[in-house]
């Protein structure tokens, strides 16, 4: 059986990639995708601990999490569509109205 550490390291790598993308990418859609990667890193953790501690609760939470992520993406994409309509851009460095 594959040891638990492998799953956790994978999850950590995914989370780091996602966080890096969120902080550095300019396109809002790419940022949204990176957020999804981070969420999936969390889902892998849920499933891993669920399997290795012998209960089904973690896997159930992972399912919920995927459902919520789908809804979140829908909301996020809707916002981005409206942004494109109003501002003609979804480049994040151009969206800085809320400042001093």
């Amino acid at each position: 059986m594959i040891p638990q550490e492998y799953f956790l390291v994978l999850s950590g790598i995914l989370f780091a990639i996602g966080a890096f993308g969120v902080l550095t990418r300019k396109n809002a859609i790419v940022v949204l995708m990176c957020v999804e990667i981070m969420l999936n890193a969390a889902n892998i953790n849920f499933v891993t601990f669920s399997v290795f501690s012998g209960g089904a609760a973690g896997q159930v939470f992972a399912l919920f999490s995927i459902a919520i992520a789908a809804a979140e993406v829908a909301v996020g994409l809707a916002i981005l569509l409206n942004l494109q309509k109003l501002q003609d851009t979804i480049e994040l460095q151009d969206l800085n109205l809320l400042r001093w």
């Binding site: 966080a19 969120v22 902080l23 550095t24 940022v31 994040l92 460095q93 969206l95 800085n96 109205l97 809320l98 400042r99 001093w100």
Partner: protein
Amino acid sequence: MTFVEYTWLIPLLPIIGLILAAAFGRKTPEDGGYFVIGSVALACAMSLLVAYEFFTGDGTPVYASQVWIDLGTINGVQYQFEIGYYVDYLTALLLIVVSILCTLIVIYSLGYMHEEGDRKRRYYVEIALFITGMLGMVVASNYLEAFIFWEMMGLCSYLLIGFWYYKPSAAKAAKKAFLTTRIGDISFMLGIIALFGSFGTLNYHQLFDPAFTESFDVNYWMLLFAMLCFFGAAVGKSAQFPLHDWLPDAMEGPTTVSALIHAATMVKAGVYLVARSFPLMVHTPEVMIVIAVIGGFTAFFAATQALNNFNIKRVLAYSTISQLGFMFLALGCGGYIIATAGADEHLLEVGNTGYMAAIFHLMNHAFFKALLFLSAGAVIHAVHTEDMRKMGGLSKKLKITSLVMLIGALAISGIPPFSGFWSKDLVLESTIAAAGVNPWFWILYIAGTVTAFLTAFYMFRLWFMTFKGEESEAAHHAHEAPASMWVPLVILAIAATITGLFLLMPDGGLPAVIYTVSPEGLAIPGETLGLGWIEKFFTAWPTYVSLAMAVFGIGVAYLAYYKKTLSMAFYTKGGNKRIYDVLQRRYYFPEFYDYVGEKGMYGLARLVDFIDRKVVDGVVNAIAAVAVGSSGRFRKAQTGMTQTYAAVVVAAVSVILVLLYIFAGVR
């Protein structure tokens, strides 16, 4: 039943008269005057009963008081303010004098104020409040209570000087009197605070207890300070140098007010305060010297200003200041002897004679000065002017007035057997006795003797100018005052004639009852000679000196203002001489007050203004500027870039994780 237990009623009765006059004054004759007369007469009867009972008793002070404000216990000392009454010989004597005078003057007001119309009600209400203040001050059982009544008198003095407030001069005089006496009042308050803070009580019966004196030695400087402050209060209230200048201006009020408040009673409150504090003051010889010097100097200083004044009431006002100076002189001299006497019984006897002389002079002066003022009031009532140059030849029209005023003038000049002679000579004698202890007091004796000459001169100048000489324009229409005015005058004239004889009463008379205790707690009466006083007076040289001075003064006035063989205009170069001008302008004291007000007070106000604008406002503005400036810098942190915020969150969480790993041992 004893009357003394009901002493607290005495100041309360005029209040009832006040309320009745204020409530029903409009609907009753004389606008409520009869209510006030009735209540004051009741208070007078009560005072006489209390005094009679006290003088026939064994002489131990009677007091009762209730806790008014309890401040709790600090360091084992219970601090309480009480309210109550304290009756001893001094109180009893003052009660007699004050209540009789108040009654007579209120009755006199009936005639004098008759033509005042609507304003009469205000007059009677204010005068009733004043009488409450004076009687309350006299019967008070502690300094705080006395202070409250003291302030009440100050207020009434202000209101009554400004009775004709639509006259600018009256409004100004009222303001001046109020502000000047206020300096003394603040001094009184400081003294009370010092006394209360150092000794934990303000009650007379505790402070005057000889057993209490040990604590005076411990806190000697505080006692000295408090006593100086009390004398400062007396200087303000009794118009002594350098706070004397309000009293001549106070003559802007009705003459009855001048007679009652600014001659007979309120200005005596200062003398009373010093006499009341005597058991404390005899511990401090320094204060006694101050009192004697200020008193002696004021006596002379004020008398000079009366010499060439033409306003009949102002002459009397200066003479009041001068006579009050005499009282302080006697108190200071007598007190100095007591303070330095140790246990020497003879010196204590002499010292207490000086103390008695002051109280005796206070009593005599109250009667003859009230008489003089009310006579002047009758004259003003008849001729409608206060300028003596417009009077003259009034004795034919105002027979009673001229006669009673002559009695008053003889009394104040010190001609036997009128009252002023006895007390003034006792005052001068006490300065000689003090000079035996400390030769510097000879200067005060000389000042007193010269003042006796000046007094006789200006009083008879006043009398001759008013009643003798050619009949003036105003005299043609003059007519004698109504009965409500001349009856009190006659009673006062009788009093001014006989009150001096209290000294000669059997069983020692006044000296046997009016005395104080020495620092050692010894209470030895003054010289109780009875009729022996006559022998003592007329075998001693100072009596003849002061008599000669008085006769000389009267003689000069007679020659200058009746015979006109002595031309005053010649000596003053028709009023152009410099000293004449200085006296007319009151030694430039009004200017001096204005200067102090302008430079001192206005300067202080400007300093306070500067502190307010620059320092206080500056601090507030600086705090605001710091907030504005720093917010301008810190708001740059809000970039509006989502990724910056996210980076901060990630960085912070990373730092927290690292810290947890290192320090909190989270693995």
